[in-house]
């Protein structure tokens, strides 16, 4: 019963006192950690003598560490019924020195008439810690007495009671629930009791949106506590004075208004911010003058320029080919494929989908009216977005606008990024875009950086959530980079060990979406290294030789690399050396990655893609260039170096970006002929038969075809086991009989495999002609014509194939959605209230802060 110690301990102390219930006898409550100043009691008694109706008088509680700080001066309730201390952590300048009526006063230093014990009863033993004194005061009020504070009486006190406005989240919420259940009409109490648990969850979500994840536990725990301890609350209702004509509602003037609550919250946030500023000041991080913003630096000009250089990527349809498949045109399909749920390819199975599917869902949601278009837009805007991110990362090293612009351009124009864009390698492109933003978010959350950091805990939580989401995107898009990112995060956490409480949460969304997938690969399939497999379509990139790896795939980067070597000769050479070291580790990672050989899908095997690791190297070069260029002091030299970098680095890289070819095309986004598109929602399967030199390849797909989100790495790795199953053996036999056209009856096999259509992609080879000739003579098939996807046949005798509706949910997916939504809520900045309180002189700084 430690948590209700106040109510029970005060009650038992009073009982032990055995005072006479005399109206002229006063009881003064003091605790071992309260220290009344001289004259406090006389001031209280003088206040008591002013009115016969005054039954409780509270002192001004001050901090024992600093007696000029008022920690409490009376208590009340907010309009929502929360316990509320109107005066908290206020510097005492005499501004609060007016005695007056309050709804309640805290137990420490409380002076009350002994007769109250007979009239309203003792302190409630059932009341939670923060509710006991308020409850006692309210009963006193309801008995018709006054409750007042006397500021002239000062008591220094360091107990929990004064922390109402600061911490004690669980106690505070329990106090609210207790008071609600004790003083509300009984029917309202019943309703309130029923909604306590769901309300706890809703309030937890609200707390996340408020960037107060520290209160989630309090909301959930208190909800359950209130629900299961209802009998004790109902028992406490008996303490309400029977003859009372005063209701809680009639005491409304004594309760805090919304305005007061807002002001108190604002003051609390300001205190938090000033603490952050002090901490930043202590780290000597605070900059002497703010850097120029994105607009002021004319960085937007480069955004436009990069968009122009990406003219070949301008979306004129749905990106198909290269390393991309169209996304499903239906957002609900994207959602169905994300997380652990039913996977329709092959014979269908339940397994965790690729974590990258969450990224696809996010991309598709960006163009929710036509999710398929999102990839085209992404490719087109990729260089601009990467530039914007790198520009902000460069800001960690310099505040000179021209340096940020020039060095960030290197990242956006890096040749290996162009390789990914040209072949529509969506995961690599997403990872490259997000990488600088992730670095920025982690540094903000960790409070690293020369020019400003998160200005309050709430902002820090926003950065933590953003970093968490970006890490999840990065990990899902580029698993090969993940070990090095986690290593980097660990180093940051060690550097800022005090921030561990924040940084600890960053990997949570990644864990939520990656862990089930990794578990299935590691434990389910026994292939731990498979987690390093690239996301998306399994397609090899070309193998870069050592020199190409060093120079980012093209000799045109040499100027930038030379400049970044120059960073070693600056004052910040230690940081530069560390960055170079990390860059070389990334290079070795890239070198190793392209030596990994994974099972393929279209091709037999694929090698690991080093593109994202090379993008990370590009980001290192960007920061190193920024360090080097930032250190140039002389104006004349600045002009020369800037000209050299512009003409020798930026110009040729822009030319390369604008002229490099693309290997994808724009289509209407279908992956199967129209006839099959209209058959979408059935269990009907499509067999796609193609022939290579020695093999026939049979794809077993739902009739609507396979979109990008239907790909499954787990399926790819598990296929070697699956092909031994009877279903796959039967299908192989079926395909063999079809291409042989040997006249055997294949009706049963077609029906068992739910095959309703057969498609032979027309690649113009003789084998295709031969297969087509065979299928033409299979009596169970009828030609459905030549389509742009190849020759199509329909199974003649196919009866109506039903539709099994598979749930798009699973417990794992529920958890994943909850974590992602929580982090999204937490990441969305809540700046509206903040701005109205900002002085205008700070507004210019906003841009450079983010």
């Amino acid at each position: 019963m430690a948590r209700t110690a106040l109510g029970s301990s005060v009650a038992s102390a009073i009982v032990n006192l055995n005072v006479e219930p005399d109206p002229n006898t006063w009881v003064w409550l003091n605790f071992s950690n309260s220290n009344p100043e001289p004259g406090a009691l006389s001031a209280l008694l003088e206040a008591a003598s002013r009115s016969e109706l005054t039954a409780i008088i509270g002192p001004k509680l001050v901090s024992s560490a600093n007696p000029r700080i008022i920690t409490q001066l009376g208590l009340t309730l907010t309009p929502l019924g929360d316990a509320f201390s109107p005066v908290s952590e206020v510097f005492d300048q005499g501004q609060k020195d007016r005695a007056g009526d309050v709804l309640a006063v805290g137990a420490p230093g409380m002076l009350f008439r002994a007769s109250l014990l007979a009239e309203v009863g003792n302190f409630d033993e059932n009341a939670p810690e923060l509710a006991a004194d308020i409850d006692f005061s309210i009963r006193t009020r309801m008995a018709g007495y006054r409750v007042a504070v006397e500021p002239a009486a000062r008591v220094s006190y360091d107990g929990k009671g004064v922390e109402l406005g600061r911490s004690l989240k669980v106690e505070r919420r329990k106090a609210t629930i207790h008071l609600r259940m004790v003083y509300s009409p009984i029917w309202l109490v019943a309703l309130y009791w029923l909604t306590l648990i769901p309300m706890g969850f809703l309030r937890a979500i609200y707390r996340i949106a408020q960037k107060r994840p520290d209160r989630i536990w309090a909301e959930l725990y208190s909800g359950f506590w209130g629900f299961f301890s209802a009998p004790r609350r109902l028992q406490s209702r008996r303490n309400i004075p029977k003859q009372s004509k005063v209701t809680l509602a009639s005491l409304k003037p004594l309760r805090a208004s919304w305005g007061e609550v807002r002001l108190a919250n604002r003051a609390s946030a300001d205190r938090d911010e000033s603490q952050q500023n002090l901490a930043a000041f202590a780290r000597a991080d605070e900059n002497e003058a703010p850097a120029k913003g994105f607009g002021e630096s004319f960085a937007w000009l480069f955004v436009i320029l990069l968009a122009a250089a990406s003219w070949k990527l301008f979306p004129v349809g749905v990106v198909t080919g290269g390393s991309a498949l169209p996304l499903s045109p239906d957002l609900s399909h994207l959602f169905a494929r994300a997380g652990a749920s039913w996977q329709p390819i092959g014979d269908g199975f339940i397994a965790p989908s690729d974590p990258f599917n969450w990224v696809l869902l996010m991309l598709g949601s960006a163009t929710f009216w036509a999710p398929q278009l999102s990839i085209g837009f992404l490719l087109f805007a990729a260089r601009s977005l990467a530039f914007a991110g790198a520009w902000r990362v460069a800001g960690l090293a310099t505040k000179k606008a021209w340096v940020r612009n020039l060095s960030a351009l290197a990242y956006a124009l890096w040749p290996t990024f162009g390789v990914g864009l040209g072949s529509a390698r969506v995961p690599e492109v997403v990872a490259t875009i997000c990488l600088p933003w992730l670095v920025l978010a982690i540094t903000r959350a960790a409070g690293i950086g020369r020019f400003g950091s998160a200005r309050s805990n709430r902002q820090t939580w926003s950065w933590v959530a953003l970093a968490g989401l970006l890490l999840a995107i990065e990990g899902a898009s580029a698993p090969s980079l993940l070990p090095l990112i986690l290593l980097g995060l660990a180093v940051v956490a060690l550097m800022r060990i005090r921030r561990l409480g924040y940084l600890f949460w960053i990997p949570l969304p990644l864990g939520a979406i990656f862990a089930p997938y990794a578990y299935a690969l590691i434990v389910g399939l026994g292939q731990p290294a498979a987690v390093l497999a690239d996301s998306g379509v399994a397609a090899s990139t070309r193998i870069f030789n050592n020199l190409e790896l060093l120079i980012g795939g093209s000799v045109l980067t040499v100027v930038y690399i030379a400049v970044s070597l120059g960073a070693l000769m600056t004052k910040r050479w230690v940081a530069a050396l560390a960055l170079w070291g990390f860059g070389l580790v990334l290079l070795v990672g890239a070198w190793l990655t392209q030596r990994l050989v994974f099972p393929g899908y279209e091709t037999k095997t694929v090698t690991g893609s080093p593109l994202v690791l090379l993008s990370a190297v590009a980001l290192v070069v960007t920061v190193l260039s920024a360090i080097a260029l930032d250190s140039i002091g002389k104006k004349g030299l600045t002009r020369i170096v800037a000209t050299v970098v512009l003409l020798g680095g930026f110009a040729p890289l822009t030319y390369l970006a604008a002229t490099s070819s693309t290997s994808f095309s724009s289509t209407d986004g279908r992956v199967v002929p129209w006839l099959l598109v209209s058959q979408g929602d059935t269990d009907a399967q499509l067999l796609v038969i193609s022939a290579s030199r020695n093999n026939y390849a049979v794809q077993w797909l739902p009739a609507r075809g396979a979109h990008l989100e239907d790909l499954s790495t787990i399926y790819r790795f598990d296929l070697k086991n699956r092909v031994n199953s009877s279903d796959y053996q039967r299908l192989a036999k079926l395909a063999g009989n079809m291409v042989s056209a040997n006249g055997l009856d294949i009706s049963a096999a077609l029906q068992q495999s739910n095959v309703e259509y057969v498609l032979v992609p027309n690649d113009g080879t003789a084998k295709v002609v031969e297969i087509a000739g065979s299928l033409n003579s299979v009596p169970q098939l009828e030609s459905a014509g030549d389509t742009e996807f190849g020759k199509l046949w329909r199974v003649k005798s196919a009866g109506k194939i039903g539709y099994t509706k598979h749930s798009v949910w699973s417990v794992t997916k529920g958890v994943q959605v909850a974590v992602i939504c929580s982090f999204l809520l937490l990441a969305i900045p809540s700046r509206g209230r903040k701005k109205s309180f900002d002085a205008e002189i700070f507004l210019g700084e906003e841009e450079s802060d983010v």
Binding site: A530, L577, N694, A697, A735, N737, S740, N742
Partner: protein
Amino acid sequence: MFRRSLALVVVLAASIGFYLNGASFEYAISSPPSPILVVTQAKDLTLVCPGAVFQAGGNSGTSLNVGRVGSATLSGRFASQPGLLLQEQRLNGVLGVTTGKVNDTLTAASALTVVDQTGKAIQGSAMLSGVQVQKVAAPNLSGLAAANCVRPSSDSWLVGGSTSPGRETLVVLSNPTGVDSTVNLELIGTGGTVAAPGLSSISVPKLKTAVIPISGLAPNLSTFAVHVVSSGGALGTWLETRTIRGLTPGGVDFVGPSADPAKSLSIPGIFIRGSVDAATLIKLNDAYSDLVPMLRITSTSTKDATVTAQFLGSSAKTFGTVVQQVVAANSSLDIPITGLVDGNYVAFINSSQPIRASIRLSRTKVSQTDFAWAPAVAALSRTVAFNAPAGAISKLSIANPGRVSALVHVGASHYTIPPSTAITVSVPAGAGSQIFSNVPVSASLVIDIGGLISVVPVIDYKNLGGQLSVLVR
């Protein structure tokens, strides 16, 4: 400054170390799925032979009918085994299966089928093969026409023919199946697909042969290839092409289905004889100008094809020649090959895009002329049988398109063919034989009867089936 310089040196040294690192390895994470091996019964092997040549317009050339002239001699080979049964079906519209004969006289088209009740026999030309030969000497139709009996197909390409004045091309479509067939023809000319009426929805009834005169549908077309696409029953397809100069017949030949398109082709069997007589005739009369050998290339690629054809002679006197041309996407092109003296040649063709090719060559003996279309021949990868017709001089031209010498077995004899060369082997008349090589080679049989010529490729026949490797995913 020393420490900074040291840092620079360290970074440079590490980078150079990275560059010089020569380690090379691959680490396989898991293994790709193995294809499933399935044993399926193949469809019974059927070969269909075109029968006697057709004569459009009758002897007078004015009749509206297209009729057959004379009869063709079928020379074939059937490797009889227990459980195999050879059946024959004459394509006269009436179902009537008889015991098959591989040496026969054909008037109508005829289909030979090996019925394999167990489905386990290995199909191929070694099991069943046949070639038909007909020497014709009608008033407006003369020459030697030889054709392979072919496996019915629903999609085939015929590269050859002309419909210029005095030149006639018929498409012969034989349906050996019990299902009617509907055919669409596509002509790829010098400018791409030729639009002409009557090329689509051509009906070929079951067990019958249809003859479509290209000359009537698309006259004055000197260069084209015909694409035959059928739905329903699969067809045997040929072009029958003839030449008349004034009132003098100038030759006749069958053109069989072309090999698959490829970037490297070889055309064996280019035997040039009577080139001096031909030159004399050309000088006298321009109508003989098509006695010059001519290479026809058809590209169905979407990109222009740069084609280099190398004609190699078999002796020091026959140097051969090299031609290079660009063939526009989806078009056919004729390239005259001038300057070839009498001798045996082979053509090796390389192209930037997959193409089909064949060569028209002529045989001139004083004023008698005949021509033959020698097609590009797919390289043979296993033992293949061929038949030398009785009463004819037959020579086997074997080309080795590879980069290593080929050890070739023809019957009981062995020959070594150096890379990128060809040899000629005489084959006794009326004998069937087999050819096998350790590396893929191409071969054609050049048939000569009384100074008239025909060239038939040595091909393999196989229906899909047997052990297939299927990758399910």
